[in-house]
Amino acid sequence: MSTEDLVDSESVVVDCDLDAPPEKVWRALTQPELMAAWLAEGDIKPQVGHRFELTSEIGPVECEVLTADPKRELRLSWRERDEAGELVDSEVTFVLTPTIDGGTRLRLVHDGFMHAGFLVMAIGRIVPRKPVRRLEWVLAWAA
């Protein structure tokens, strides 16, 4: 099995269809008052290099905008602290694709601290825990 296969099928990925055009989804992702309603409070701006802090229930997350391609791709660095105050760095990417029925296909990928495919491969294949079912990793959500 190639590494590419693993990245595509076994990352920390959410694929879903949204019943709204990319323009509207983009606003929900990049306007602070809208983002607060679904993700967390924070002074986000779709501007590369902009830094802000998210106040979420998983604790404060320091973010920086790495990519802001309107209506197409938003990529954020995602830096959190664990229970002991140690920094853990990762990245979250939102990719928006218009669908033929006027909606949006959203792909969310959370990785970056290392190759996500590697991480999941390592956990799934090496760590003795219950077998990982592929479908568990790609959570398709009916619109």
Partner: protein
Amino acid sequence: MTAEADLFRTLADPTRRAVFERLGEGEMTVSDLRQGFSVSQPAISQHLAALKAAGLVSERRAGRNAFYRLRPEGLTPLAGWVDRYRAFWPERIGKLKDLLKDMDQ
């Protein structure tokens, strides 16, 4: 330092991660491991020491040779991180869908 942050830091180095991945093939000596890497043997040894300190690799000595192998259980804390976000993101996407319904065009 917590196990989780320690592991993230240890595996953030691409060469070290490649060494770790290579050990997935089985137990090896440093010179076995060095094949296919363009870095020096002392550099490989340093990566092995870091992996050992993080609990990801164990060392067995036999005569003058040292053999290295993966400690799969060393990765367990990372599974917790993945599980957390596997629960977090779908729940948030559910809220995003609710928001999109309520938003004006």
